[in-house]
């Protein structure tokens, strides 16, 4: 079982991101369960959405308490909500921001984590470039596919096309691909800097 928790704010497509991730997993023939943290149906309010992926039927219905991966769509939540609750040092963390972990004031905190599993990605900028809107959810999923390898970029693209149509779908697919490439480049640079 692979468990993903997505943090963002109402209106940023956080719940949609979890649903797209589950559709991508279905596309790969796997089981998935996506659900929101309920109640915060207001623009700007902190929102959490969850997605479980497994190769067998998923029975549990509890919220994801110890995620394998964390996607943070809005970096302004970092010092407002306990987004890192339950995170393990071998977990994946992807944050939508143009800043580094150090610049976000997280340098000390992430020191215990595996460096190749932590990344910031300018997903809002990539989304704006490709869709005209700074809704970063699809781009983040592309970046997440590259970082975690828990899902394939093609499956993410097909999920986006299944959920949306026309130019919206193509723009978001392009944003996801751009973020995927961006993360792959970062990871390559990182592995070059610290040879295995």
């Amino acid at each position: 079982m692979f468990e993903v928790r997505i943090h963002g704010r109402g209106g940023q497509g956080v719940v949609t991101a979890a649903e797209l991730l589950s559709l991508a997993a279905f596309d790969e023939g796997r089981y998935a369960q996506a659900f929101p943290s309920f109640g915060s149906e207001r623009m700007g309010a902190p929102v959490v959405a969850f997605c479980r992926i497994d190769d067998r039927e998923i029975r549990t219905r509890e919220p994801i308490i110890e995620p394998d991966a964390l996607i943070i769509q809005d970096a302004t939540l970092l010092h407002q909500v306990d987004v890192f609750g339950g995170c393990r040092p071998d977990g994946f963390i992807l944050i939508n921001t143009t800043k580094s972990f150090d610049a976000l004031g997280l340098g000390d905190f992430v020191g215990a984590f595996r460096a190749e599993r932590l990344l910031t990605v300018p997903a809002s900028e990539l989304a704006r470039e490709h869709t005209g809107r700074a809704v970063a959810n699809a781009a983040l999923l592309g970046g997440f596919a590259a970082l975690s390898r828990a899902i394939a970029l093609d499956a993410v693209s097909r999920a986006i096309r299944e959920r949306f149509g026309g130019a919206v779908a193509e723009g978001n697919v392009a944003a996801a691909k751009a973020a995927h490439t961006w993360v792959m480049d970062e990871l390559r640079e990182l592995s070059g800097a610290t040879p295995a």
């Binding site: 928790r5 979890a18 649903e19 589950s22 559709l23 279905f26 089981y31 998935a32 369960q33 996506a34 659900f35 929101p36 943290s37 309920f38 109640g39 915060s40 309010a45 902190p46 959490v48 998923i58 029975r59 549990t60 219905r61 509890e62 919220p63 994801i64 308490i65 909500v81 306990d82 987004v83 890192f84 609750g85 339950g86």
Partner: protein, 407 residues
């Protein structure tokens, strides 16, 4: 869910929106508007009372009628619910289970449908979205064969707002399983009859008893329909109860609805550690399958009933029914109230709970993950001042800002 209901070809849908069922009837209204669901009339009404009243009218004129509601909406329907069952009208309704205020709360528990357990409606509880889908198809057949209304209860948000894989049957499959509605009674302007006459002491008990007799027939019919469903669709869905790893179980946990999934995962973990624990899920709460529950639990040393509703002043609602099923059998019985108002029921908490139960360290009535500090602080406030103020607001101040935690 809307697609599954549409496959059952309802002819009249009367509904009033209330979370967490709104998207079901919204999607049905789209299917009606687009003509994908035809013939069907979608009636916008001004309240849940009107939704059930219009459903009663539609059903009495021979239309297959469907509606959905939750929480205060179900309470607002109460008077009409009794009319639907008393008149023997086979309406099917989704209840997207949600807490009842005050304090106002939109999250999941079973307080709403449990409050209507004696309304004369059959109540089926779904464990998964697949089962909710399947139960709706079975519910129309059950309702129409007995001429009695059926509620399909599914956990609000936990199921209604989850995205997961379900197998969607084809229209041909559903048509073959669910024949067109043949009403036992029909309001027809060309052949006028009365439905709903006043009945005095000379016949009231007999008419009322018939509703009970039909639910007793449902005890036979529900497993038959589930077996037919399995033949037609290849899935085990419905039935009266469902047992999980109970054969040698010393401790059996009994529950309803989606929490059974989390319970099963917890049981698997505890079994690896050698604990003999199993679960029984009740699908049919009304009629209550006394015999099946007795057969499933009778050999255990202890039974823990996990309930998502609280009968204030006594404790458990399901527990009282289970006790009746176990009349004369000596075993430890525990009632655990859990998940009220959407409080997550976690595997970690269940792990502790079942371990305590297996060691007989539980109180007869336990509240899972209750914050006793908060409760005791408010009780202390009440003792120290006559004007201690409103409970909810006092407690919210003690608890602090919401949404500060990760979940």
């Amino acid at each position: 869910m809307a697609e599954a209901v549409a496959l059952c070809r309802p002819e009249v849908i009367c509904a009033y929106p209330i979370s967490p069922q709104t998207h079901i009837v919204e999607n049905l209204s789209r299917l009606v508007k687009s003509g994908e669901l035809a013939p069907c009339e979608f009636v916008n009404v001004e309240s849940e009372f009107a939704a059930m009243s219009a459903s009663i009218g539609a059903s009495a004129t021979g239309a297959r009628a469907y509606t959905a509601t939750a929480s205060q909406g179900l309470l607002y329907m109460t008077e009409a619910l009794y009319n639907a069952s008393g008149l023997g009208l086979p309406i099917v309704m989704t209840v997207a289970n949600r807490a009842i205020g005050a304090p106002i709360n939109i999250w999941n528990d079973h307080s709403d449908s449990m409050s209507q357990r004696d309304s004369g409606w059959i109540q089926l509880y779904a464990e998964t979205n697949q089962e909710a889908l399947d139960l709706h198809i079975q519910a129309f057949r059950l309702a129409e064969e007995l001429s009695t209304p059926v509620m399909v209860c599914m956990d609000g948000f936990i199921l209604t707002h989850a995205v997961e894989r379900v197998e969607m049957p084809t229209q041909e499959q559903v048509d073959a399983f669910l024949p067109p509605f043949q009403p036992r009674q029909l309001l027809d302007p060309d052949e006028p009859i009365t439905i709903g006459a006043m009945v005095g002491p000379e016949a009231f008990m007999e008419v009322k008893y018939l509703a009970h007799a039909k639910q007793m027939q449902a005890l036979e019919l529900i497993p038959e329909i589930a077996a037919d469903f399995k033949d037609a669709f290849g899935r085990d869905s419905g039935g009266l109860i469902r047992s999980y790893r109970v054969e040698d179980a010393e401790t059996i946990v009994l529950a309803l609805g989606s929490v059974l999934g989390t319970i099963k995962d917890t049981i698997d973990e505890l079994r690896e550690g050698g604990m003999k624990v199993g679960a029984v899920g009740i699908t049919s709460f009304r009629p209550f399958p006394l015999g099946a529950v007795r057969a499933a639990l009778g050999h255990a040393q202890r039974v823990l009933v996990l309930e998502k509703a609280l009968a204030v002043g006594i404790g458990g609602i399901v527990s009282a029914n289970v006790r009746m099923a176990l009349a004369g059998i000596q075993l430890h019985g525990y009632t655990v109230i859990a998940g009220l108002g959407g409080r997550p029921i976690t595997k970690a908490s269940l792990h502790r709970l079942f371990t305590d139960a297996a060691a007989d360290r539980l109180e007869p009535l336990t509240f899972l993950d209750m914050d006793w500090d908060v409760v005791n602080r408010e009780l202390q406030r009440m003792r120290s001042s006559r004007a201690s103020g409103p409970h909810a607001e006092n407690i919210l101040r003690d608890v602090g800002p919401v949404a500060a935690g990760p979940v």
